[in-house]
């Protein structure tokens, strides 16, 4: 496995430049999770939701979930952005360079993780002003680790779809039949304890389940699994996804 560090760096740099120049993209990516937070938080403020323990309000329960949601969306899109490069021809410029395919995947990954983390941290920051209270500040680094693992997992997933799709036309299918079910199954909006047993089993194959649960454990001290278990599961799933993503990307044709 040959790693070309300069190539990884320049692919990362390109991603950052594009991100910082697309102000509307950044605003758009932040707006939806913040609206979710604001309206769901306000709307369900007074309700007692079964499974949400008394000491934790719904907003506190919701914030880690919304973080996971935002990472799920922006990372999958990030992985799928290979298709934009394909559409605009730039993928050929990348693929014809004497750079190992692994380095190309790592470069994209580095860029994707960085930009999605920036978004995640911004959302977390804004939520603090909306009344969200973090358990202890010491838990922040571990929260960032969880966010990075979620990001890597779904960048890998996006890359798998991008390698299998010819253009952006299949995007809606991926969105409706993959991203949305992953979102609902992960317990972003409600505790998974309320699911019937069979559906709970289904949710166990959703990587985001462990991501969101881990973030809850770290940020508000409430989780279904232990934080260590969540961490192990997320690490394993991110490794599998990125391996598969790299594998399919390597196999795909640039033209």
């Amino acid at each position: 496995m040959i790693i070309h560090r300069a190539a990884i760096y320049v692919l990362w740099l390109r991603e950052l430049k594009r991100f910082s120049r697309a102000k509307s993209r950044v605003v758009g990516a932040l707006a939806m999770p913040l609206f979710f937070l604001a309206f769901l938080g306000l709307g369900f403020r007074k309700m007692m939701i079964p499974g949400v323990s008394g000491g934790v309000g719904y907003v506190s329960f919701l914030v880690p979930g919304i973080l996971g949601m935002s990472l799920l969306f922006s990372s999958t899109f990030g992985g799928l952005s290979v298709l934009w490069d394909k559409e605009f021809g730039f993928l050929k410029e990348i693929m014809v360079a004497p750079v190992s395919r692994v380095s190309i995947v790592l470069g994209r990954l580095a860029g994707g993780v960085t930009t999605t983390l920036v978004q995640g941290v911004l959302i977390l920051g804004v939520s603090l002003f909306m009344g969200f209270k973090i358990n202890t500040l010491a838990s922040l680094p571990l929260a960032v680790v969880f966010m990075a693992l979620i990001s890597i997992t779904f960048l890998g997933l996006g890359l798998i779809f991008a390698s299998k799709m010819k253009d952006m036309q299949g995007f809606n299918i991926v969105f409706n039949f993959v991203i949305f079910p992953l979102f609902f199954l992960s317990g972003v909006l409600y505790p998974l304890d309320n699911f019937p047993q069979w559906l709970r089993y289904v949710s166990y194959v959703d990587p985001l389940t462990y991501g969101v649960d881990g973030l809850r454990g770290v940020l508000i001290g409430v989780s279904s699994f232990s934080v260590i278990f969540d961490l192990v599961m997320m690490t394993a799933m991110s490794l599998v996804m990125i391996f598969l993503g790299a594998y399919f990307f390597e196999k795909s044709e640039a033209v």
């Binding site: 190539a7 730039f90 410029e93 014809v96 360079a97 004497p98």
Partner: protein, 369 residues
Amino acid sequence: MILGLPRGIGNAVFLPGLFDCPGMLCYKNLFSARCCVMHAIEVDGLTKKFNGFTAVDNIDFTVDAGELFGLLGPNGAGKTTTINILSTLLDATAGHGRIFGFDVARDKHEVRKKIGVVFQEVALDVKLTGKENLEFHGMMYGMAREERREKVKEVLELVELTDKADALVETYSGGMKRRLEIARGLVHKPNVLFLDEPTLGLDAQTRRHIWDYIKKLNKESDVTIILTSHYMEEADYLCERIAIMDNGKFVASGSPEKLKDVLGGDVVSLELEGSAGNLIAYLNDKEWIKTLAEHDGVLSLTLERGERRIPELVTAAQAHDVKVACVHLRKPSLEDVFLHYTGKTIRDREASQSERNRAMMRGRMGKRR
């Protein structure tokens, strides 16, 4: 002349920077019956099928180092597929391509280091500036900072884009984007540069400009250039040697002059009204007519001293009850060469190609499933 270095058995040895002409460095040359110069590009039996549809059909050719070689043919003839295979983006179904001895399917990494490609469609990141696109390229090719800066500056000057270097590419005109791409193809000092339809969709003036860059480039550096085009006059003006491609096959190759000489003498076109069958049968027996092709009511003949034969042709037409509406005499162009070898004009070919392209798309989509 350096003959070659017998190093390592079974491997082509390449020592960059030690010698000027990398084409002479393969030990194989020691045992070669040919001269010591290895071909920049060697293609034999190259075939590409998309789900049963044959886009490139068993083609062979070689290009010498420093040559400006043209692949000429209508859209859909297989030129771009050939370029994609030689630039490692597609794998051939059969046959081999070698760039300075490196196999394009097996030694992809080495081949990629040696080549620069300007693709048919724009392949720039429009959200980056011109300079950033070039810097990106230089870094992808592992160039050191100083060398990169210098080369980027140099190529920007070459294509006269220094003033616009810091503007986002989305603000560039079509011609500027093309120039930037040609500049980019040169940043890493490739040994072989592929130009796929470099002037497609550009206005006449910009096209001229780009032709001049390409000519200058080929003259001033020792880069080997392969260019595809469906503009006959482009290939005629630029290329030292061309191959005419049609339906995935090579129908003729040689220098433009040589190809035109095959037709011999002048081209006389007669625009006819009425059934020309008898007239054609009559003319077919005439020895002084070298070639004869009828297309869309226009009879094209090649013959020597055409101006002296026109009265005779008109008389013959009248004798066969065919009215001659117009007579045209000119020196043959590559368009005539194409007509001679394929029986069709390039424009006709392109019209009938659209069906072929659809078949190809179907083939490719099927393959992905």
